[in-house]
């Protein structure tokens, strides 16, 4: 990623995050959250993680933001945070705990090796990736074709990692993440049922209308 893009998008993300904390109106906070997430998605795309970047835009900047705005408007809070006196102890701790955290981070970061990203050698990667495969099978593969054309088949590779692949297709067979994927499915089901159960209103008994 070119430095100018990196700095502008990370600036967008950090500015959005600061605005999210500072705005008093929750609707403004939700909008600046979108700015922060779009900046983060651009950073992901700059790191050659196109799939994750698109997912970030769709899920966070799309679905989650709409959900937040919907709830903010549904609740329609009249007296937004009133600027009454804050607990000074809270303010001090809220300033110093993040600062201590940031200081620790800055102390650790110089210890890691400061490397620039190696450019992706896509054509060599195609040969390495299909070292063990037969030639006709290799030529059928979308991944091989894209890599040879010089584009990164990001979605295919994420899918290959997630669902696993047999040994004929690549040098190392991997088991994939099929079981965690099913656990995630159960989690989403439980969350859906839980949300419905939480938002059910208790039926009030209406003596004059016994049918309802």
């Amino acid at each position: 990623m070119e430095p100018v893009f990196f700095y502008s998008f990370s600036g967008l993300a950090v500015a959005g995050a600061i605005a999210l904390v500072l705005f008093r109106n929750p609707v403004n906070s939700a909008m600046s959250m979108v700015a922060a997430f779009v900046g983060l998605a651009a950073l992901f795309i700059g790191l050659n993680a196109y799939f994750v970047g698109i997912i970030q835009i769709l899920v966070y900047a799309g679905a989650i933001m709409v959900l937040f705005l919907f709830i903010i408007m549904l609740l329609d809070i009249k007296a937004a945070e009133r600027p009454k006196r804050r607990n000074p102890l809270l303010l001090v701790s809220a300033t110093f705990i993040p600062l201590i955290f940031l200081g620790q981070l800055c102390a650790v970061l110089p210890n890691i090796e400061n490397q620039s990203p190696q450019p992706l050698a896509l054509e060599e990667a195609a040969d390495k990736h299909f070292k063990a495969a037969d030639k006709p099978e290799r030529d059928q593969s979308e991944i091989y074709r894209s890599l040879k054309e010089g584009s990164l088949p990001d979605v295919h590779l994420v899918g290959l990692t997630m669902f696993g692949h047999r040994g004929d297709n690549a040098s190392i067979p991997t088991p994939g993440y099929n079981f965690p994927l099913q656990v995630i499915g159960v989690l989403l089901l439980v969350a859906t049922v839980g949300v419905v159960a939480l938002s059910l209103k208790k039926k009030e008994p209406r003596p004059e209308d016994p049918d309802s």
Binding site: S10, A13, M33, I64, E81, T95
Partner: protein, 106 residues
């Protein structure tokens, strides 16, 4: 090209801002947004490591990106359940200010 340290610093900075927001804000919806920001900042770390530690065939390490996918899924489920809890809370108490929700204080 931006280095690994810069990506990790941006990630840590976003996490710190989210943490400060969780501590300093009183509107429970905004606290929830700051939690989402902290989750996303962790995702940036994972993607940066996936890009900088190339696997043996010279492509990014996609295990990290699969983990990001799972985190995004869990975050979406968490937002749905959390907002449902906030709505139920608002129905019961008519407030979203955490200063007014002290019945569990020891």
């Amino acid at each position: 090209m931006a280095s690994l340290q810069e990506y990790l610093f941006i990630s840590g900075l976003l996490f710190t801002i989210g943490l400060a927001g969780v501590l300093v804000r009183r509107n429970i919806i905004v606290i929830f947004m700051c939690l989402e920001l902290m989750l996303s900042a962790a995702n940036l770390t994972l993607v940066a490591f996936s890009r900088f530690n190339l696997s043996s065939n010279g492509l990014p390490d996609y295990n990290g990106q699969v983990l990001v996918f799972f985190i995004v899924t869990v975050a979406a489920a968490e937002v749905a359940v959390g907002l449902a809890i906030i709505v139920a809370l608002y129905r019961a108490r008519q407030t979203v200010d955490v200063k007014d929700l002290t019945s569990m204080r020891g």
